[in-house]
Amino acid sequence: MACPFRVARALVVALALLLSSPLYAASDAEVAEIREQLRQLRESYEARLQALEQRLKDAEASKTREAAAAPVPAPVPVATASPGSSPASGIAAFNPAISAVLQGRYANLSQDPEKFAISGFAPGGEIGPGRRGLSLGESELAISANVDHLFAGNLIVSLTPENTVSVEEAYGVYTAAPYGLVPKFGRFFSGLGYMNEQHQHAWDFIDAPLAYQAFLGGQYGNDGLQVKWIAPTEQFLEFGAEVGNGDSFPGSERNKNGVGSGVIYAHAGGDIGASHSWRAGLSYLETRARDRDYSQVDLAGNNAQVGFNGTSHIAIADFVWKYAPNGNAQNTNFKLQGEYFWRRESGDLTYDVDGALGLTNTSAYTSRQSGWYLQGVYQFMPYWRVGARYDRLDPGHVDYGANAAYLDSPAFHPERYTLMVDYTPSEFSRIRLQYGQSKTLAGVTDNQLFLQYILTLGAHGAHKF
């Protein structure tokens, strides 16, 4: 099949010669000179070729004599072949790494997911167990590459089963920063906590822990700037600071100039012997909300609209510990992770009910609440893992001020037990069965059964810790 190309090439060469010949109106003397130069070139190359051939013969002879293939010691500062994969060529050579994640599930829920709520906690973001029956999960498209010698870029788009598109992350990383600094800018999942930076398809359970749902609306992302600093020590120490627009829950869009939210965190980590590795951290988030609305049943049993204006402070302590015999996670491994959340909110709360009285009242509001989860995942043989998780939220102390006349301070402790088993035939596919018993409302138990698949195609993903 090379023939058409060869013909084409011959045509091109012929055409080039035709086009160039009129330009060469050279004199006889010039022609003779060029001939002479060519002859000299040919002779000198022939001599060098012969010398090289002789050296090759000698080298081969000595090699057979020694019966060893050791190379001649190279002279030292030699220009080495540029390390890196062999350069690709063609128009596609600069295409970024592209990958896609496909997900789908079957959910059997004993309670109506439309009525999902977490008693005593003002919800926000994407929370709840999702719809019943068969459905497509979130599909994800990721594109990443080095932009140039200074920046790397990453775009992750989420396509929802409702046929909407959302930009999950779209950020640049400045890769040339000195002193262990890693600046990142754009939209990204915050580095607070442990699980927050992980995408949903990388989680060990199909859904986020209740604490993530109650305090961060599932996952905390923001538009802004992040700077991480890695300490120049053998012990892993990482410090991060972020500023953002503060639009996402527990904050809200406030139509303000300046910075809407701030995050700081510190992580430490390392290995203990060859088999154990760990990471632990502390994070703090401060953001503000304006008219953050949700509905709540009041003392009279009416469905009231309440709106919060004020500041939200969240502190998180997280840890993860991983065990793999000799560091080889192929056959068996174990992972234990837990995070503890504290939240303090202060500001004012507007109570609004469309009852007979059409009452609206605004008064001071403060709350101190907490929650945590602990989960373990054990790979007991290649491809197969089992996991268990326990979630619990503490309604803590809520002071409604004058609104205490209409609203009751929460006393119920939401909790959830979850078990899962998954099968991972390769790095790129996973099938999971999960059972959960969720008690997020007093006296209501939701028995949740999920069957889920996750398929990853395209560029090789990163093995994040």
Partner: protein
């Protein structure tokens, strides 16, 4: 007392600062390059090896310890050819160390320096864990180690110019010893020529090619896909027609599949160290191949 203090500080400072200035910090992804750097760099380098011989170098996570070490590294030495693709790019990006980013003098890959084999003709994940640039387990042929040593030594000299002569001298000495050792190994391994073997994972094409041995089949149905009974039975069938002497596996792999086939085919299981530290005998690059040859000879009996 006051006159005593500056002196004390000077001592304290030099004790603290000396190790930092004395050595080039090298981050080796796998033990073979860590060992080679030690041969080439002597006491002028401080080597950190990211993985051990009992780990599959492909299945490693970007652990906090690796990020911290990459942060302090002057040079990262990797195999390349996508062996470390799952974790090294993430480690170097998160480390905030511009010196060791791909393409910089502080980043060195070994695979482009050797002739790769088993380049897949069809790039498709349905074929298992295939590597587009060829089989990345290049360290099992000592001639490949020799091919990497020269440019790696040159890189050390480039990064640490004041010690260039030292690196050159060490390289020369190493290259001579290595060349002599290859000759010895080849003589010792002469009886292995033409010996047919099974491999658990396709991790040894360079070793088998060097010693003139023949790979009849792999126990993994596709690269990095765990052996299945169905596939093992097929391999057992093959072995009935084409007798083999032994089945070879790397130290980090489970021995179940090799044992299964060995019992039924009445052949030996040979667990090779695969890299430095893979067994008690393989303490450095020289003893790695001493031990490899001895184990193969024993398996061939």
């Amino acid at each position: 007392m006051t006159s005593f203090k500056p002196w004390l500080f000077a001592v304290a400072f030099s004790v603290w600062a000396a190790p930092a200035f004395a050595a080039l910090n090298v981050f080796a992804t796998v033990p073979e390059w860590g060992a080679l750097i030690e041969e080439l760099g002597g006491d002028k380098v401080k080597v950190y090896t990211a993985t051990n011989a009992l780990q599959d170098p492909h299945h490693v996570e970007a652990k906090p310890s690796l990020i911290a070490r990459a942060r302090a590294a002057d040079l990262v030495v990797a195999t390349g050819a996508e062996l470390e693709i799952g974790w090294l790019p993430l480690v170097t990006q998160q480390a905030g160390n511009p010196k060791v980013q791909a393409g910089k003098p502080g980043y060195f890959e070994a695979a482009p320096l050797v002739t790769m084999t088993e380049k897949p003709t069809r790039l498709d994940r349905a074929e298992g864990d295939v590597h587009p640039l060829g089989n990345p387990h290049i360290q099992t042929d000592p001639r490949n180690i020799a091919r990497v040593a020269g440019p790696l030594s040159a890189r050390l000299a480039e990064l640490d110019a004041p010690n260039a002569a030292y690196y050159q001298a060490r390289y020369k000495a190493f290259a001579e010893r290595w060349s002599a050792a290859i000759g010895r190994w080849e003589r010792e391994a002469a009886p292995l020529k033409g010996v047919a073997v099974l491999v658990q994972h396709k991790g040894f094409p360079y070793l088998l090619d060097w010693l003139g041995m023949k790979e009849i089949a792999a126990l993994e149905p596709k690269p990095s896909v765990e052996p299945t009974i169905a596939h093992l039975s097929e391999v057992l069938d093959t072995v009935q027609h084409q007798p083999v002497k032994m089945v070879i596996r790397a130290a980090y792999q489970s021995d179940r599949a090799s044992q299964w086939i060995a019992e039924r085919a009445k052949i030996n299981v040979v667990a090779l160290p695969f890299t430095v530290g893979g067994d008690d005998a393989a303490k450095d690059l020289f003893s790695l191949f001493d031990d490899t040859i001895q184990r193969l000879l024993k398996g061939a009996q």
